[in-house]
Amino acid sequence: MINYIIKRIGIAIPTLLILIAVSFYLMHAAPGGPFTSERPLPPQVLANIEAKYGLDQPIWRQMINYLWGVITQFDFGPSYKYHDRTVNEIIGHGFPITLKYGFWSFIVAVGVGIPLGAIAAIRKNTWIDYLAVGISIGAQVLPNFVMAPLLIIVFTLWLDWLPGGGWNGGAWQYLIMPIIALSTSYMASIARITRSSMLEVLNTNYIRTAKSKGLPTKVIFFRHVLKPSLLPVISYLGPAFVGLITGSVIIDIYFSTGGMGYFFVNAAFNRDYSVMMGITIVVGSLTILFSLIADLLYAWIDPKIRY
């Protein structure tokens, strides 16, 4: 187990470095620098600005400086577009917001998805099963960028129950629609995965044995069925997390929640490279960390896996 943990961390660190290196070189491969504008600056001014941001140095040097800043001081440098703000400030503003609705969406997706899939599997071929399967297929073709406007139409324009956007310090009225829009499709996938893996488990010989020796249904379910049928769900949690983070881009645009996604898309339109890089790196490290946790959890739960 410890060997496996070390091995797994051994993958995570180069992954992060590759992500940083690739995004760094991509930024510099782009035609036009961050200070190219329609009215060209005098060469001396441009040289001064570039010297200030360290852009006159060779690329490998810049990258080492950047990496060093990120690792030692968690410093992602200044924003190229908003000269009075650093990337750290922007991330510090957007990240807690994204984290808050992302966390709740994750809880909803897992907390609703697993029971839904489990009930569908136990009551196979009843109306509950059909309903659950119907919901999960429906939710798959209604991605968050479709869900978000539909929710606004129904709950804000027609029913006038919830505010159509804004954050307001994360009050619950402002959280409901982002969470529903973000979590639905992952909830559906989790339900589908739970259902199919639980059906598989329910058909195994050891469950038949447990039934025939007269164990109560509850004991069979919680002791013998639940754990093995959750394994595929755990391996899906990594991708689901990535999806939730990516989906935050849509949520921020639609509900004006002001999370990281908003700053990322804004930076993409403004070619604000340092902000894009900073957010990519933060999101990337989170993703890598999360898939690490999911893998370790998997190895811990499944005794058959020996690395």
Binding site: A12, A30, Q140, L142, F145, L157, V265, R271, G284, T287
Partner: protein, 308 residues
């Protein structure tokens, strides 16, 4: 009369040879697929949508870039769907004909989906088959690379690519294709590991066939079933990714359009009571995705013996 007889004889001959020769894997799969009603119906609906996107333009009164100055800015009053004005699906806010735009969006979205999936399938299959067949250290390194790429948030990298290399459809589907072959390569590798110990591969090796030829001639053809299944499931995934990017305004650029871009426009103007601007593209999008998923499921039941 003679013709009819000839056909009859031919039919009988076909029946005869069928019952004698036994059914091939593909024929078997086709029969199983046809028994799946949802999948068969989906296939027909999808074919209808595809042919609509090619035949539809001949019935259009307005082209997709032509502006109806009457409807411009007053789409809510003048631009509703009607037969008389020639705007079968209504107009958008700029007075452009939504019928033509939806057709164009359908073509582009489907094209990105299919081309992106082909890139992903070709790269993923070759990569996975090579990795699985060669085994050992090479396999480990190749799969480690896949692991690394998998844990990168690819939507962010894709946006980065589009910003750096400019927004174009070409870049879009290369980016999506190059980033979505990873699952494919894992699945293919797993299958290859099963295949490579079979006798016919050993026989090929003994007779001195080169590794490359064994992979392309003997391994890949045997993987076609599973590849077909995951390719059909990949297309809707890629269409979703493309729509997501276009929805952000980073994908397909004006005057071209795609489902994602149309949904974005429709969703943006929803408060002006012009629901058709959202509903028509949304209907095409949702129905097509449904069809792709059902066809993929049907194909999986038909071709993948493990999941049955």
């Amino acid at each position: 009369m003679i013709v009819a007889n000839k056909n009859k004889i031919k039919d009988m001959a076909d029946n005869l040879s069928e019952s004698g020769a036994g059914r091939s894997l593909w024929k078997d799969a086709r029969i199983r697929f046809m028994q799946n009603k949802a999948a068969t119906i989906s296939l027909f609906i999808l074919l209808a949508i595809v042919s609509f996107s090619f035949i539809g333009p001949y019935f259009a009164v307005w082209s997709y870039e032509q502006i109806d100055w009457n409807a411009m800015g007053s789409a809510a009053r003048v631009g509703m769907p009607s037969i008389e004005s020639g705007h079968f699906f209504g107009t958008d806010d700029l007075g452009r004909d939504l019928y033509s735009r939806v057709i164009q969006g359908t073509q582009i979205s489907l094209m990105v989906g299919v081309l992106g999936a082909s890139v992903a399938v070709i790269v993923g299959t070759l990569y996975g088959a090579t990795s699985g067949y060669l085994g050992g250290k090479t396999d480990q390194i190749m799969m480690r690379i896949v692991d690394i790429l998998m844990s990168i948030p690819y939507m962010f990298v894709l946006i980065l690519l589009l910003v750096v290399f400019g927004r174009s459809i070409g870049m879009l589907f290369i980016g999506i294709g190059l980033l979505s072959w990873l699952d494919m390569s894992r699945i293919v590798r797993g299958q290859t590991l099963n295949l490579k110990n079979m006798e016919f591969i050993e026989a090929a090796k003994v007779t001195g066939v080169s590794d490359f030829k064994i992979i392309t001639r003997h391994i890949v053809p045997n993987l076609l079933g599973i590849v077909a299944v995951y390719a059909t499931l990949l297309v809707p995934g890629i269409i979703l990714a493309e729509s997501f990017i276009s929805f952000l305004g980073l994908g397909v650029q004006e005057p071209s359009t795609s489902w994602g871009a149309l949904i974005k426009e429709g969703a943006g103007t929803i408060s002006y009571e012009t629901e058709w601007q959202l509903l028509f593209p949304l209907a095409f999008f949702v129905v097509s995705l449904f069809c792709f998923y059902f066809i993929g499921d049907g194909l999986r039941d038909a071709l993948d013996p493990k999941d049955r």
